[in-house]
Subunit: 237 residues, 2 copies
DNA sequence: TGTACATCAGTGAACGCGCGTTCACTGATGTAC
DNA sequence: TGTACATCAGTGAACGCGCGTTCACTGATGTAC
């Protein structure tokens, strides 16, 4: 296993985290390993943020199995990465939905949803980067010598589109109630999303910058780009 | 200079771009190779956007020398990467300064500067990603087995800080002339920068998204976050 | 004008590493008779 | 109740690859005498 976690955790030690051979799953439960593999790969990506640098061997080490065992559950490396991305997108979506559902009015929903999105990115900066920080490799230059440059990674576009749809809907509702000046909700939502993405990714790229409180920036964005005047609890965060 | 000047300069062509052995530099001119190395590394990064994936062997191949020759000019890989980043930061800074200097009034300067910044990022998306898209690898977990995960790459913070200083100054001047509501210029500039970064990096990360024209988004940002009412040539771009 | 020598700009082979993937295999567990 | 067999969840060794870096070297060019 890769990360020698100084103190061995007493119970989970032999299953997941220790150096010795892990206990084999009972018959019919082989797919348990699949979940462990996804969790381990996700763990590594959450630590490194480097999707290209993820290696099957590191995943196998983390789980405590031989590397070829991964091929019992995934046809290749891309399939494992895809599974990790799907799980993370679902988590992000669930977190945002939960935050929205706890607020009664459209303005509260919009603000809670954006803050939840930002909280996810702040809590899991590397995971967020893995989800949204990808530049599809372009030219490839028909140069077979450098063809080991992998193509664009699998992107579950549906989940991302769904999340964006939520934002458009939230903006629309605010406009419907008159809480916010009427405009093209898709255009406004796009501006908000890109602005949030920018402050989130720069915060994690340049942590040494003297960043102001996150909620201040988020509220500046909502006020400037949506027209939200409602800024509850100004001393918050 | 680092940035590939599209048309191959007639004489340098065989020295840089071909497969055969390149002509050796005359004595006293050994540092020419240094420039070629930086240009080749920059070229590769502009194609891949992947700073971790850059290999000295690929750079040597591109230039047409043996890999160890790189060590005549750079102590290691990090030093080469640092040189590339410095050159790109300088280019970005120069482009923005030039755009600013061509406008007479503060509002025009602010808009031209931000558009130049965006144009740079759009023209060289991978280079832009290399400059600003980095997440410093966090934990490292004192695990010698995975220590091949390189530490944070060399970042010339001065150049970035200078560019941001320009933006703060531009916003301040607009406020001074009353073209824009008075506020904390550093706070406003930070909001603008992060918003621009967000729309730029998402545009290059998710090119399949139905993006609106760049200038529309930039003007939305300047209007919403700075209060710029001046939107010249609305049908532009 | 000739020659020994220093310097400079590189080269080629090799090191030890980690990687994705393939292959033939093992050995515990369940099942049919 | 015993036994042959199938299945399932893995393993260990090996493949060919690219990587950063080190090392001893080469051979053209300049310089001192």
């Amino acid at each position: 296993m890769s990360v020698n976690c100084s103190g061995p955790p007493p119970e989970a030690a032999e299953a997941v985290a220790s150096v010795g051979r892990r206990a084999r799953n009972p018959q019919g439960q082989g797919s348990r390993l699949r979940a462990e593999l996804v969790a381990a790969a996700d763990d590594i990506l959450a630590r490194t943020g480097d999707i290209e640098g993820l290696s099957l061997r590191a995943v196998a080490r983390e789980v405590g199995i031989a590397t070829p065992s991964i091929y019992l559950h995934f046809p290749d490396k891309r399939a494992l990465v895809r599974a990790v991305l799907e799980a993370r997108f679902q988590q992000l979506s669930a977190v945002v939905q939960a935050a929205i559902s706890q607020q009664p009015d459209p303005v509260g929903k919009l603000r809670a949803g954006t803050l939840a999105y930002c909280q996810f990115a702040t809590d899991h900066p590397h995971a967020y980067r893995v989800l949204f920080g990808r530049v599809p490799v372009a030219v490839s230059r028909d140069d077979s010598a450098s063809s080991h440059v992998t193509a664009a990674p699998p992107q579950p576009p549906a989940a991302g589109a769904d999340a964006f749809g939520l934002l458009v809907e939230g903006v629309q509702r605010c406009m419907d109630t008159g809480a916010v000046p009427a405009a093209d909700p898709a255009r406004v939502a796009l501006n908000v999303w890109t602005a949030l993405h920018g402050l989130l990714s720069l915060r994690s790229s340049i942590p040494q910058f003297p960043w102001p409180p996150l909620t201040q920036q988020v509220d500046d964005v909502l006020r400037g780009l949506v027209g939200l005047r409602h800024n509850p609890a100004p001393e918050q965060e």
